[in-house]
Amino acid sequence: MSPLPFRYLRWRRILAFMTVLVLSSILSSITALSLISFYKGVSAYMGEEKCITVLYDTKSRTPFTGLIPAFLADKAIMMKEVSACSPEVITPCIVKGKPVFLRGVLLEEFLKISAISIIDGQMLNAGDINSVIIGRRASERIGVEAGDKILVIGVLSPVCFELRVKGIFKSDGPLEDEIIAPLHIGQWLRGTGYNYVTIIRVKGGCINFQETILKPIAEETAKPDRPEKRDSSGGKLSEHVAAQWTAIRFRAEDIGIRETEEFMRDYMERYGVTRESILILSIATIIFSGATILLAAETLISQHSDEIGVLRSIGASRKLLKRDIIFKLFPVFLTATVLGITAAIALLDIVLERGMLQVLFHNIQLQVDVFALILIASAILAVIIVGVWRSIR
């Protein structure tokens, strides 16, 4: 029930005020939702299952540029707790003039960790040494179909070669924006030889890799009396690779071990990207556009100064008027904020669906964070209250 029973706020003036609120909430929601979607999308890049651990190079500046010895995969798979161990090389390349990420994998192990299904053509098998499968979105972006041949040009190394596209696959995650190839193809494009991979994803129970695998092997490979001739690692996985791995020296402390989501978050945090910093940035947009909301609230009051004057002359106190205006503007705020947030979600959905917003050629899935949206709405309401409170003197 409104404190004053008069309808003195004019609809056309409220509409202008509402437009400002809608646009401000669109701006803040777009900022918050796109950044949170980016954050959650990147976090889930390596998979979201809790029992997957990633072995990676702690010295690398990005998740794609690190290098760790491939033979560690052979050692990891020997542990009884480990059900799958996927050594992977993730590297950019150019296909048909368009950049795309290619992931070199041992397919059998990779499929135990990541679920993909073929929608056109056929799945790769162990004998396919010069074929690849392409994610649905990547194939649409590049313009290739199953059965085509593609010319792949290196980004990190000077290589240029042809491959056959055996199939198109779909998956739930960012893999749809990548090319999946045999491990050696990724290693050529990375340009570091057959003994290194970017990451090793391990599926299994909680294992202390640092103590049980890395330290003993690092000590073993660092022994000065170790014969110079490098032997094949001779493990279960190296039997399946096209080019033999050898046991090479490394420092145990250079290899990081994290769960998949933590692994990606670790990289983002190095650049100051955290969920909290994203929320602060989104609230900052409200504070910055808050001056406009404040101005709009003051203008609304100024436009109704005659009406307010009449109400004052018949005995309405300033406090009552302030309460009444805030009460009358509350539905306007609610409608405008809901409209703004809905419009922002719809706009982002269209933009993301069309692949116009990508991070390193990977599409982002829209993530609606209710907490962030409530925070934005509360900030807008606070600015309106301040605006009305300041204007009626």
Partner: protein, 372 residues
């Protein structure tokens, strides 16, 4: 005269608040643009870390295996530019080795030994010298269980050639998946043409000049491709960042337009007396429209200059604080002069668009009645 009239509006109490409202919006735009500028520079630096080798190929069409170039093309090219140059034939053949049959690429070169040495390959056995000899990459050898001394059959279209494997090599690159044969063998199978010319330029030549001259000598549909393209990759990553910035800027511009609407509406509401005076002094309706627009332009111009400065200072302070709290984070905001011009231009345009409706309405109001 217009400026004098505009001064009446500018002296209003809320002008500073209006400038600040626009400035804060522009500050957001400037700060995000400067961070995107920093990210762009980072991507370029990362791309620059992998120094392209300056290796190029000349080919026709989209695929090397479908490319056909005249054998004599090599003789027409200006040799003074090249550090190394080699003509190659490339095609996919069906290889029969024992019971295994597989489709693999075959590369024909004039001197297999020199070619493998140039690619840094470790050769086990000897190089293929005669027409019925071939060397095979390690991956093919392992996959098809081919050993030195074995004979394999290469089939292309209806033509077949039996070759003896005289060496197995490991180059840790794409040729590990190929069979390398002398050029005569390739000609016998795929016809007398070459597929590509691989070259690198001398250090002291101008790359742009050399590539221009070489491309002028090529057949119409032939093209030069650099075989390592970190720059293209960096450009595309930057284009993605800029596309996000563009989309986000649209939202900011919409808020700037709405702010300009509010400012103009408030001006008309609160300056009725001044507008009446101006009308009484003979200012026409169109002039009034221009005056309100001019006021908004001045407010938006001042707001954008202040906003750009605020945005840059703000980002600098935040990045300094961040690097102080977390030493690994080092953000150096970069805002190019053309970006500043772009920000000011879109702010002015949005502000003018936003003020058009209240300015038009202002010309229709009867101020005498309003004041009464």
């Amino acid at each position: 005269m217009a400026l004098l009239c505009c001064k009446i509006f500018l002296r209003r109490r809320d002008t500073a608040q209006s400038i600040l409202a626009i400035a804060l919006l522009v500050a957001m735009l400037a700060s995000v643009s400067s961070i995107v500028g920093f990210l762009n520079a980072q991507v370029k630096t990362l791309a620059g870390l992998s120094n392209p080798t300056g290796k190029y190929i000349i080919m026709r069409g989209d695929l090397i295996s479908e490319s056909k170039l005249d054998v004599k093309l090599l003789d027409t090219l200006p040799l003074q530019y090249f550090n190394s140059i080699i003509a190659e034939s490339f095609f996919w053949t069906n290889v029969t080795a024992g019971l295994t049959q597989i489709e693999v690429p075959v590369r024909g070169v004039s001197d297999t030994e020199k070619f493998l040495r140039a690619r840094g390959a470790r050769l086990n056995g000897s190089a293929a010298r005669s027409v019925n000899e071939a060397v095979v990459g390690e991956i093919i050898a392992k996959s098809c269980s081919i050993d030195i001394g074995e004979e394999i059959c290469l089939t292309y279209d209806a033509r077949s050639v039996n070759v003896m494997i005289v060496g197995v090599f490991r180059a840790q690159s794409e040729i590990d998946l190929e069979i390398i044969v002398p050029m005569e063998t390739a000609f016998n199978l795929a016809g007398e043409h070459i597929s590509l010319i691989e070259f690198s330029l001398k250090r002291n030549v101008s790359v742009e000049e050399a590539l221009t001259e070489i491309s002028m000598l090529l057949p119409k549909d032939a093209r030069i491709i650099q075989v390592q393209q970190p720059i293209l990759f960096a450009q595309e990553v930057n284009a993605q960042l800029l596309s996000f910035l563009g989309f986000w800027s649209l939202a900011v511009c919409a808020v700037v337009a709405s702010a300009s609407y509010v400012i103009a509406a408030r001006l008309v509401e609160e300056s009725s007396y001044e507008i009446l005076m101006l009308r009484a002094l003979g200012v026409k309706r169109t002039r009034l429209f221009t005056l309100i627009t001019l006021y908004i332009v001045v407010i938006a111009a001042l707001g954008s200059i202040l906003g750009v400065s605020l945005g840059l200072v703000g980002v600098q302070v935040v990045s300094a604080a961040l690097s102080w709290l977390t030493p690994s984070i080092k953000i150096t905001p970069i805002l190019e002069p053309q970006q500043v011009v772009w920000i000011i231009s879109i702010t002015l345009s949005s502000a003018v668009i936003g003020c058009l409706l209240p300015a038009y309405r202002a010309t229709k109001i009867k101020y005498t009645e309003k004041l009464l």
